[in-house]
Amino acid sequence: MIYGALLASNSFADRFYQNFIEDNRWLMLLNGLKVTVIVTLEALLIGIIIGFIVAIIRSYHDKTGKFTILNAVCKVYLTVIRGTPSMIQILIMYLVVFGSSSLNSIIIGGIAFGINSGAYVAEIVRSGIMSIPEGQTEAGRSLGLSYAQTMRLIIMPQAFKNVLPALVNEMIVLIKETAIIGYIGEQDLTKAAMVIQSRTFDALLPLLAAAVIYLALICLLTFFMNKLERRLRNNER
């Protein structure tokens, strides 16, 4: 450990060796990446489920005036979640809601981020539903399709296509937001970089490595989402 400090000003090769090779420190980054990816996927799944449900309840209420109580619940949810820092939300989830449970903090974190993301997804999806002309609903209903069938077969596929860029944006934000999971004791990519730094007293390389990995992850996501978007668009020409 002391050597680390002494060697901190050494050549790049030495610094690289200490930060990543020595004691297999690269494995910390890899395991951190795994945590980041798992928490993100968990949160994504929860967020999309919550988001779509809330969006459908809200637009159904806007159209028919029914579901008054559910709609009010959704509105409170949106206000509270979007109006408070996700940092506070995750701490409350970890220390208060699941304070006495032995649940893994990866799961607690995923739930907290999912509930947070759901609020943003809900408004994105709702804007997508509202972007589809009323005539589409009328055409579906006039053929005898139920509200649910019209939503599923006609409105949602078109709305999804329209909001895909905004949803990708939300996914990107979510990936990066999971960096605060370190505060509830989970060693994600960011935390792993900090731990390496605390051992080698070198801040630049581990943080740079973490940043590059985040960037690569997000570029990968963007690449596949652009592909999906193009495929969906092609359908109309």
Binding site: E138, A139, G140, R141, S142, L143, G144, L153, R237
Partner: protein, 247 residues
């Protein structure tokens, strides 16, 4: 008034208000099997609202509508079942842009379990062939002209085997040179005995194809008659005035 067959739709004292604005102020009429009822009137007269009330796209605020004997304004009635029998064609076509022409036509019959997907395909192709658009089966609506879109919209409605077709200004959004192809198709349907209720500004169509013409103004039916009497001997002064302007 030519009464050809049994009563399909019976409208009793229909009223519709948007907030404080009364658009329909008590409309009573009957639509019989095989009739082609053409509704004309100035814009804002309530004619489209009346048409849209017939399949409850607009919820009436008063009165009753009986479709094949069932009061469809009764909240306990599942309107979806009746809408399957009431086709509708819109001014702006409202084709589904994310579906191919074939899928546009087969979507409802398949989703509603009326036809298997192969039966629906066969039927859609037969209908497309009839309107001369079979070669468009696998294209998307965006690639079609307005007239083609509207003919597809009519085919989409026909695929459900409706007992009546409602047309809401079907040619108003079309370029003039495309109006003919849509009217021709509607004429053909009328000749085949399809019951139709048509809101339009096409006076030629009303006179030639209509079995009854209805003048709606200020939320009520001001006059209804056979096309000949309607156009040649209008009695209502508003109608006389209207016809002077449009003919």
């Amino acid at each position: 008034m030519s009464v050809k067959g049994e009563t399909l739709i019976q409208v009793e004292n229909l009223e519709k208000a948007f907030g404080k604005t009364k658009v329909l102020k008590g409309i009573t009429t009957e639509i019989h099997k095989g009739e082609v009822v053409v509704i004309i009137g100035p814009s804002g007269s309530g004619k489209s609202t009346f048409l849209r009330s017939l399949n409850l796209l607009e919820k009436p605020t008063g009165g009753k509508i009986f479709f094949e004997g069932t009061d469809i304004t009764d909240p306990k009635v599942n309107i979806d079942n009746h809408r399957q029998k009431i086709g509708m064609v819109f001014q702006h076509f409202n084709l589904f842009p994310h579906k191919t022409i074939l899928e546009n036509i087969t979507l409802a019959p398949v989703a509603l379990g009326k036809l298997s997907s192969s039966e629906a395909d066969a039927k859609a192709k037969e209908l497309l062939n009839r309107v001369g658009l079979l070669d468009k089966a696998n294209t998307y609506p965006e690639q079609l002209s307005g007239g083609q879109k509207q003919r597809i919209a009519i085919v989409r409605a026909l695929a459900m085997d409706p007992d009546v077709l409602l047309f809401d200004e079907p040619t108003s959004a079309l370029d003039p040179e495309m109006v003919g192809e849509v009217l021709d198709l509607m004429k053909e349907l009328a000749k085949d005995g399809m019951t139709m209720v048509v809101v339009t500004h096409e006076m030629g169509f009303a006179r030639e194809v209509g079995t009854r013409v209805m003048f709606i103004d200020e939320g009520i039916i001001k006059e209804e008659n056979s096309p000949k009497q309607f156009f040649d001997e209008p009695k209502d002064s508003r109608l006389q005035d209207f016809l002077r302007k449009v003919l």
